[in-house]
Symmetry: C2
Subunit: 102 residues, 2 copies
């Protein structure tokens, strides 16, 4: 077994809650907090903590806008986040492939 | 995005150190502690903690044997562990596939 793909897995993305959030954001332009929370059936606290970690890693950016007089914050992957996610998915693919070959 | 595969990921296997250990055991009949540690370049403490968690989940069994008068403990996946790992890899494959389809 080649241990490299395992060692390289990005811990920021690998945590399953964050993996779900990053996958969701990768499939969308940008999303509101409530859209993330409701799609993934997570608590406010969970989504908030994961978004903070992703923000600190430079993977997710928040944008504040005003619509019909109400402030709304939306979240999107940064270019860095998208690149890290692509690399992560490539590693998962290697792990799946090397397992199925056995 | 379908959030199901993310929600179903088995936390016992998902942690990247344990994922490496389980993948290694899945590719072998049984392995000594030092073989696991050296192949994955982990510390004794790390391997020990992960094996304990895997044992508590019923995924890994330890066998003590005597070879040339020396006690040796080897580790192997149980049938439950192998089943859980197969289910986990199937979920990873779904996650990869649904990402690549985008």
């Amino acid at each position: 077994m080649n241990p490299e793909p395992f060692l390289q897995l990005d811990r920021v993305i690998h945590e399953k809650g964050r993996l779900a959030i990053v996958s969701l954001l990768a499939a969308s332009a940008r999303l509101a907090f409530t859209e993330i929370r409701d799609t993934l059936d997570m608590t406010d606290g969970n989504v908030m903590a994961h978004l903070r970690t992703l923000h600190e890693a430079g993977y997710v950016a928040a944008t504040k806008s005003f619509e019909e007089g109400r402030a709304q914050t939306t979240y999107a992957l940064t270019a860095t986040g998208r690149k890290a996610f692509t690399a992560y998915i490539d590693l998962l693919e290697q792990i799946v492939r090397q397992t199925k070959e056995k």
